[in-house]
Every structure is written in structure tokens, then in C-alpha cells.
Amino acid sequence: MLIAFYVAAAVALFATVMTISRLNAVHALLYLVVSLLAMAVVFFTLGAPFVAALEVIIYAGAIMVLFVFVVMLLNMGDVAIATERRWLSPGIWRGPMILAAVLILETAYLATGTVGVRTGPAVAPRDVAIALYGPYVLGVELASMLLLGGLVGAYHLGTRKLPRPEVGDDINTGERRAYFSGDAVRAGDDRAPGASQRAVPVDVHRDHA
């Protein structure tokens, strides 16, 4: 059904333009979710129902939840409640809601089954799975390695409690730079072998400067 494809593509384009032109991160995220849902409808009309479901579940579900989580984490403080109240005013819902309503009507129209859904030949999930675990099995292994790396990296970055970076002169080069206390570069070569980086005095650079 060609008209369904064009409507969903128009919604996706408009929502994406609204995403990158918003000044507020939460408003942009609302439009980005609508954009991803519209992309899912586009994939559905293109004959890729499995990928459409993944788009909704992983992109619009998991990744956008991560974004919202981080945005909410970054706005902790006294002004956060007032800020969130302003964000939740009904006015800003209107645009994403209208676009999402268009998508819902379109999905209901497609779900009645009276119209042909696809604009192209359908590729069944079974064919995708056979290809994925046949010629592309090495890619699956690499993807699992990548996800493991992402997991370890996010855990490492998220749990280490380092002090705030300071701006000062590097004791080796004299350049102005930001560094963290206990930085291996700042500690210099005169550090005793085997000594912990944490044992280096915090303001050692000021003695040299």
C-alpha cells in the first residue's frame, strides 16, 4: 500500500526535523520516539515485519528509555521539579501526539487486512534467521563481542568514582590541560615502581609549577 508508506515516511521526516531543531532535550526525545515509530511503520510497509518489531522494541523502547533515564539523571537538583512540571505541560505533547495519532490510525488501517500491506516483496523472519546463522554467523559472534565490550565499558565508566577534573599545568610538558587526580601522566616518572596511583598527592603539580 503505497499511500501508507508515504504517510509514514512524511511523519518520520517531519518528526526527525523537529528532533534536531528542538532546544530542549526532552522535547527532542519525544519527537525522536515518534520518528522511530514512524520508521517502524515504514519498515512494515516495505515488507520487513521482523525488523519493524525490533525497531519498536529496541530503538523506541530500550535505547530511548536509556536517553530519558540519562536526561532525568542529569537534571537532579532543586530546579528539577519546576523544570519537569514545565516539560509536562500539555502544550508540548501536542505535536508528538498528533504525529503518533496519525501513525496509530495508519496502523489500524493496515491491520484491518482489507488492503495489501507491502510495497515490495516480503522477506520472512525465517529467511532472515537462516541468513543470520548461515553466512553471517561470524558477524553474530562479532556483535556479541561488541555488546560485551559495551557492557564492560559502560560498567567501567559508570561505577568508577573519580574526582572532578582540574585545570592546571602539566608537570612534564608545562602545557595547560585538564586532568584527574591520580592521573598516570601527571604523576610523572619519579613515581616509585609499584606504587598506587591513588597514593600520589593530589596537588603535586603545584609544587612543581
Binding site: I58, V70, G150
Partner: protein, 77 residues
């Protein structure tokens, strides 16, 4: 140019999605499953990238008190 690191990450998501759309359209055009397989890989890359990226955003905000990427331009090593 947007200097907010959250918007930069969101734009990366949009670009990865656009690349995935190109693969899906090509797969639909020739009726092959390879396009959808490539989209799955792009999805994996996007998920790994956004998890590490958002952890970096948290560290950046903790360290500099701002989401402006220019604030971190003096960081070396």
C-alpha cells in the same frame, strides 16, 4: 552547530537509523534477507554505542557540570 552532547548522540542515532533504512530498502528491492541482517548489526552497534556514550555523558556532566563538548576540548591524554 549543536554542542550539546545529548543532541549529538541523538543525531548519531538518527544517522544510524538512516543507514539501516537504506539497507532495508535495498533488501526489499531485491527480496533478499541480507538487508535485514545488516540492520540487525546496525542495531547492535547503536545499542553498544549509546550505552557507552551515555556513560561518558554522565562522566562529562559530573566532571565539568555541563553538556557542552567544547568544555572538554582541553582534556588530553
Amino acid at each position: 552547530m549543536r554542542r550539546n552532547v545529548l543532541f549529538q548522540l541523538m543525531s548519531i542515532e538518527i544517522m544510524l537509523n538512516a543507514a539501516g533504512l537504506a539497507f532495508i530498502v535495498a533488501g526489499a528491492r531485491w527480496g533478499q534477507p541480507d538487508g535485514q541482517v545488516m540492520f540487525l548489526f546496525i542495531l547492535t552497534v547503536a545499542a553498544a554505542e549509546v550505552s557507552v556514550g551515555l556513560a561518558v555523558v554522565l562522566r562529562l556532566f559530573h566532571g565539568f557540570g555541563s553538556l557542552d563538548t567544547d568544555q572538554a576540548s582541553i582534556m588530553k591524554g
